[in-house]
Every structure is written in structure tokens, then in C-alpha cells.
């Protein structure tokens, strides 16, 4: 449910932004905007649909071999 709501927000906000950009004749901005929105959506799907929630801190600490865990 959380993922669906999140993607719906991205879709509606994205559509509104693109319409606004086209009205303001900012067509060059659409490509980086779409790339960034797609990356955000992919990040959300990867995180929210995973069976176990990952942690960036845990991954970094393990990767660097830092003490503290």
C-alpha cells in the first residue's frame, strides 16, 4: 500500500510538473527530470518491495570493516 501511494504521488506530481514545464517552454528540462523521477521510483520499489528492510549504515560499516556493531 505504501509503495502504491508513493508511486501515485510521483506520477501525479510528475505529470503536473511536466505540464508546467511545457507551458513554460522548458522542454530541455524534461529529460533530466524524468531520469531523476525514474531513479526515485526505482529506489522506492527496491526498498519497499524487499522482503527484509536493508540499512545503508549497516552496509557501510560492514563494507569498511568499522568497529561498533
Amino acid at each position: 500500500m505504501e509503495l502504491k501511494c508513493f508511486l501515485a504521488f510521483l506520477l501525479f506530481a510528475g505529470a503536473a510538473d511536466i505540464i508546467s514545464m511545457r507551458k513554460a517552454r522548458l522542454k530541455k528540462e524534461i529529460v533530466p527530470y524524468l531520469v531523476l523521477t525514474a531513479l526515485t521510483a526505482a529506489f522506492a520499489i527496491a526498498y519497499l518491495s524487499a522482503p527484509a528492510r536493508a540499512s545503508l549504515t549497516y552496509s557501510i560499516v560492514k563494507l569498511l570493516g568499522l568497529k561498533g556493531f
Binding site: 510538473d17 533530466p32 540499512s55 561498533g68
Partner: protein, 362 residues
């Protein structure tokens, strides 16, 4: 009020900087400094001001030439187009992580202080909706809001510290001898890691009108930061003792709970919490705006406000992804964030200045 048509002044930038460092300062400094410097922890800000002075002088040197309007111009001039973009990308990644970190700290503090057993995502959503609206608005409006909040926050912090003075036990902050020099120096490194944020507003340096005044307002900000932070640490550690302060998650919040005014008024922590949330909003919104302006430097000829959707949406997911709990957040801050801050906000600007001078570009 500074009038310059859609631009912000250096004075406003430094007011914003002081405001956004005070929120993490009251969360992190008391326990971090007490762990290292014990009863001499309150002296740490005095030593930490030295690298801060060096940093704002480096920034003043960057913008001596009128052709340098923002930090990305400086990086491009000193390191070349490719090197500059790589460095800018590194700053982007680190600012995104700090953005996630502060969103998480904000929600974690509300959970730890007054709303235990509440779903953290509720606080995340409320904050990010407001940040989304603010980030889509103009930078000038946001900075003026910070300018308004800045004296309120500083005055309340000083008043609370003054009210804490009767609780201070001299044995908790004294004696301080020459043996405390090294621990205070180590504690000051942790303070400096936060004060390096003075560099970040200059990523939107093209919106800052009078960059020739950096040294003047930098000096004033340094004096204010040292006085407020040292006084806050003195009363906090003096009231609780360094052993207790070092182990508490929110030492200043706990110390404020001790305040009783003429034996009739207490519960001042609600006042602290209110301004703390407002200050957290400024901090989180500032990082969102910085990320949007760095993106604009990476993708030229774009309007930063359109990145607000992706940045705030990623903030919601990223803040949950960053850490599983408060313990991990503290490990992230103490084992990683402080060192990366020192590298990116002190070592890198210095190296960029040296390279720029050697290539005669700055």
C-alpha cells in the same frame, strides 16, 4: 532589510548557517563532547573556531574574483570541467545522505521525547510535505523565514541556558588543567565537523548579492557560535555532569526538564521542542534546496524548483533506508559522518584553493 531584487545577502546566509547548526549542536555536542573532553567539554567550541575562521577565509578567497559566482564555478576553474563535475557529484551524494540523516534525526527525536509508540512515517510525511512546498517556493522567502527564526531560536536557547545556571554544579565543569588540552582538541574536531556547513550556502552563490562581506559576517557568526555553544555546553554539562550527559540520547532536553522558575513554572522543554522542530524544518529544507541547486549545476539551464518532487520523495524512502534505529544513526554520525564532513568541508576546499592558486585560476 537588504534590498537587491530576488537575491539574498551574506548576512542572511550567515544567519541561516548559525540557525541550521544550532539544531544538530544541541542534539550532538553535549554527549559527543562529554564523551571525549569530560568536564572540559564546554571549551571545545573555543578551539573549533580556528578551522571555522580558516574556512570562511577560504570562501572569501574563492569569491574575490567577480567571475566566480558559485562553488561549481570555483571547482570548474580550479580542477577543470571534468574534475569540477566529479567533485560536485561527490558533494551531491554527501548532501543527499545528510538530508536523509537529518530527516531521520528529526523524527527520531520526536519519538524519543514526546511521542513514543507512534509510527515514524507519520512525522516523516508531515515534515516532507512542508519541505516540498517550501522547496518549490523562492529561496529568498525561505531565507527570510530563517532570518526571522534565527533571533527567536538564539534568544530562547540563551534564556533556557540562563535558567539552567542555578542547577550547575561547579564540580561538574571544573577543574580544567593542561591535561585537558588533547581531549578538548579531539572534542573540538567533532564541533568543527558541523561548522563546516558554512560552505553549503555557496552552492547557490549566484543568488547571494554581496559576497565581499564574507569575512565580516563570518567573524560575527564565529563569535556568536562560540558564545552560544560554549554557554549551552557549560550549563548542560554543569547541570547533568559529564558521565550522565555522555550517556543520554538528548542531554539538553533532559537538562531543560530540570528547570523550575521561581518554584512556580516548569515544563520548559515544550518550548525547546517547538523551536527545535522549526529549526529542523530549516535544516531539512536547506539541504533539499542545496541538493536542488547542485543538480542545477550538474544539469545546466534547468530550473531547480522542478527537482523538489524527486528530492523530497527520495528523502522519505532514504531516511528509512539510512538506518534501522537510533543506535545505527549514532554509529553513522560518530564513525563516518563526522570524518566525511571534515574531509569534504575543510580538507577539500583547502586543496581546491591550493590547486586553483597554483594554476592561477583563483
Amino acid at each position: 532589510m537588504f534590498k537587491c531584487n530576488g537575491k539574498i545577502s551574506t548576512r542572511q546566509v550567515f544567519a541561516l548557517f548559525v540557525l541550521l547548526t544550532l539544531s544538530p549542536a544541541i542534539r550532538i555536542f553535549p554527549s559527543a563532547c562529554a564523551q571525549v573532553a569530560k568536564q572540559a567539554a564546554w571549551l571545545a567550541p573555543i578551539l573549533a573556531v580556528v578551522p571555522f575562521i580558516a574556512l570562511y577565509r577560504i570562501l572569501a578567497a574563492y569569491f574575490r574574483k567577480s567571475s566566480m559566482t558559485k562553488l561549481s564555478d570555483v571547482f570548474d576553474a580550479a580542477l577543470g570541467a571534468v574534475g569540477g563535475k566529479i567533485l560536485l557529484f561527490l558533494y551531491l551524494v554527501w548532501c543527499v545522505i545528510l538530508f536523509w540523516l537529518y530527516i531521520r534525526y528529526y523524527s527520531g527525536r520526536l519519538l524519543a521525547s514526546i511521542f513514543p509508540n507512534t509510527d515514524m512515517r507519520f512525522f516523516l510525511l508531515v515534515m516532507l510535505v512542508i519541505v516540498f512546498i517550501a522547496a518549490r517556493g523562492s529561496l529568498e522567502t525561505f531565507v527570510r523565514f530563517s532570518e526571522f527564526l534565527f533571533p527567536v531560536f538564539v534568544v530562547i536557547l540563551i534564556i533556557l541556558s540562563v535558567f539552567l545556571l542555578p542547577e550547575v554544579k561547579l564540580a561538574n565543569v571544573w577543574p580544567v588543567t593542561y591535561l585537558d588540552t588533547v581531549p578538548v582538541l579531539l572534542a573540538s574536531v567533532r564541533v568543527s565537523a558541523l561548522w563546516g556547513y558554512v560552505m553549503l550556502p555557496f552552492f547557490f552563490g549566484d543568488s547571494i548579492a554581496d559576497k565581499g562581506q564574507i569575512k565580516r559576517y563570518g567573524r560575527q557568526a564565529a563569535v556568536l557560535l562560540v558564545i552560544v555553544t560554549a554557554f549551552m555546553l557549560f550549563t548542560n554539562i554543569g547541570a547533568l555532569g559529564y558521565t550522565v550527559a555522555a550517556r543520554m540520547p538528548l542531554p539538553f532536553f533532559s537538562a531543560v526538564k530540570l528547570i523550575t522558575f521561581i518554584e512556580a513554572f516548569d515544563r520548559f522543554e515544550s518550548l525547546l521542542l517547538a523551536i527545535w522542530v522549526a529549526s529542523d524544518f530549516v535544516l531539512i529544507c536547506f539541504f533539499a534546496l542545496t541538493i536542488m541547486h547542485i543538480l542545477r549545476c550538474l544539469f545546466p539551464k534547468t530550473e531547480p524548483k522542478y527537482y523538489a518532487t524527486s528530492v523530497t520523495a527520495a528523502g522519505y524512502i532514504g531516511s528509512q533506508y539510512l538506518a534501522c534505529g537510533r543506535f545505527e544513526l549514532e554509529v553513522f554520525t560518530s564513525k563516518l559522518a563526522e570524518y566525511v564532513n571534515l574531509f569534504l568541508f575543510f580538507a577539500v576546499p583547502f586543496l581546491v584553493l591550493i590547486i586553483g592558486k597554483m594554476r592561477k585560476k583563483l
